[in-house]
């Protein structure tokens, strides 16, 4: 059964209502504006980046820190480490709460990887952000409110998929992350009108499924 969602697991969520200024600075926050931190670890990094961005749309929070861990969740340093640590910063704990609620909601019911093969060994993340928040938009050099296709797959699948996605619709590559990323995947951010982003994500996903089903293509036989 292909294209089953692989739900992300939230491994830990904690809040620091009044974080030490040294800690704030070390994690990229601004002690003059930020006082409280919200921290989360998840076993899937890319859905978490999307969910962190979602949080900036629901509460007055900034994403000050978000980094993937090397080689991914299967090689984590501890049971709570997962694949990513994300940190929200805000002036009050209430804002942090609102941000974390939006973040968790997004992880539970929206952003997730999908299994591209029957054995669930190949994971693909063909996500469409219909309206960017101020975190991802700043990273991508776009404006808040723009649409973006956030596409991730393992190296071979991602490369074939990206070519299909760019040719399938009127989209433009904002950033391409060739392999290896920290988690040994490959990724790309595309932008354009919402419908084009959606068409690109679907084309990408389909290509990943086809490559997974037929890794050696027509020439070398399956």
């Amino acid at each position: 059964m292909i294209l089953q969602p692989l739900p992300p697991r939230i491994l830990s969520v904690r809040r620091l209502p009044n974080a030490d200024p040294a800690l704030l600075v070390a994690y990229g926050a601004d002690p003059t504006r930020h006082r409280s931190l919200g921290l989360i670890t998840v076993d899937q990094d890319d859905p978490t980046y999307v969910a962190l961005d979602e949080a900036t749309k629901h509460a007055n929070v900034d994403v000050v820190f978000a980094k993937s861990f090397y080689a991914g969740a299967n090689h984590a340093s501890g049971p709570l480490s997962g694949e990513i640590l994300g940190v929200l910063a805000a002036s009050t704990p209430t804002e942090i709460d609102d941000g974390l609620h939006a973040l968790v909601r997004c992880l539970e019911s929206d952003a997730c990887f999908y299994a591209a093969d029957e054995a669930k060994k190949t994971a693909v993340f063909p996500h469409v952000v219909s309206s960017l928040g101020h975190y991802l938009s700043a990273l991508a050099g776009l404006s808040p409110g723009d649409a973006m296709a956030y596409l991730v797959a393992p190296p071979m699948e991602a490369t074939i998929g990206l070519d299909m996605a760019l040719k399938a619709a009127g989209v433009r590559a904002v950033k391409i992350f060739p392999p290896p990323t920290e988690t040994n995947f490959a990724a790309a951010w595309l932008t354009g009108p919402l419908e084009s982003c959606e068409a690109a994500a679907v084309a990408y996903c389909e290509a990943v499924v086809r490559v997974a089903a037929n890794p050696k293509g027509e020439v070398w036989g399956s």
Partner: protein, 304 residues
């Protein structure tokens, strides 16, 4: 189901898989907006309370944590929408003829240009000028001009009422009144050219004023003695906030006629005009007593 999940589910069907995709956990029920209602708290400071009662400005609106209260935000958005709509409104082409008035227009071609080029809105276009030279009644005391200005909404809603009360009051004070006109895409200074063409002693332009929060229907009136191109604002007397919640058009027409009479008598207007003996007739317009409170119209009701 989220948009991406819908897309991938459809792709899955297209790829011919038979078993249905497992469902995402249902989204939590979204509470009816606004999800939490924070009622306005009674302001502690007496000064803030009193000030807020005397203005429709956003004073003493309180806060909830780092944010405004829900009703304040909704009211603000609704009022901004009213103002935007008024700025974007245009006077219909046939409005002048439907109301039995002569229609003139400035040199502005379209609404966008009107907003960007105040200078073009201050002069009549060739065709209007020729028509006005023909139709205008010369040598009158007062030339009334109705105009869209920055709010055609205001002109349509209150324009006729103000024009009629102003005309009647002028005649009652023994002033001769010119043929009323409606000017499209007009700025205040257009009154100089229109008045100068017919040699009126006083030109009075009644036009929609720049909309503020929740006030899209306000008219202003600018009066000038000896209208001619090149007059400055120092030579004009003006009255603003002419609408149902400010100065009502009937009252405003009366006061403007008093001003016009004074201009004709003293042969000057603007800063030089002596209003000291007209305090009784002009009411609050000439006095220094604080204005009566304006009532804020609630466009949004929350938590009732």
């Amino acid at each position: 189901m989220s948009r991406t999940r819908q897309l991938i589910a459809r792709l899955r069907d297209d790829l011919g898989a038979s078993a249905p995709m497992s469902l995402a956990p249902p989204l939590p029920r979204i509470p009816e907006p606004p999800s939490r209602v924070f009622p306005r708290r009674q302001e502690g400071s007496r000064y803030a309370r009193e000030s807020a009662a005397h203005t429709t400005a956003l004073l003493g609106i309180g806060h909830v944590g780092t944010r405004y209260a829900t009703d304040v935000v909704l009211q603000f958005q609704a009022e901004l929408a009213v103002a935007h709509e008024a700025v974007a409104a245009e006077l219909p082409d046939q409005w002048a003829t439907e109301n039995g008035l002569i229609g003139l227009r400035s040199r502005v071609q379209d609404h966008r240009e009107f907003l960007l080029r105040p200078d073009l809105g201050r002069r009549l276009d060739e065709e209007s000028l020729a028509r006005w030279k023909q139709a205008g009644k010369r040598g009158v005391d007062v030339q009334p001009i109705l105009a869209d200005g920055l709010s055609a909404t205001a002109c349509i809603q209150n324009g006729r009422a103000l024009l009629e009360s102003f005309t009647k009051s002028c005649q009652a004070r023994g002033l001769t009144v010119g043929v009323p006109v409606v000017a499209r895409y007009a700025r205040v200074w257009l009154e100089d050219e229109i008045g100068a063409v017919v040699g009126a002693k006083v030109a009075a332009i009644l036009l929609g004023e720049r909309p503020g929060l929740g006030t899209g229907d306000g008219l202003s009136a600018y009066l000038v003695y000896d209208p001619k191109v090149g007059n400055t604002d120092g030579q004009r007397n003006m009255m603003s906030n002419i609408h149902a919640r400010g100065t009502r058009p009937e009252v405003a027409g009366e006061r403007l006629a008093v001003l016009a009479r004074a201009m004709v008598d003293q042969k000057k207007s603007g800063v030089d005009l002596d209003l000291s003996r007209l305090t009784a007739e002009l009411g609050e317009a000439a006095s220094r007593v604080p204005r009566a409170p304006q009532v804020r119209v609630r466009l949004v009701e929350v938590g009732k």
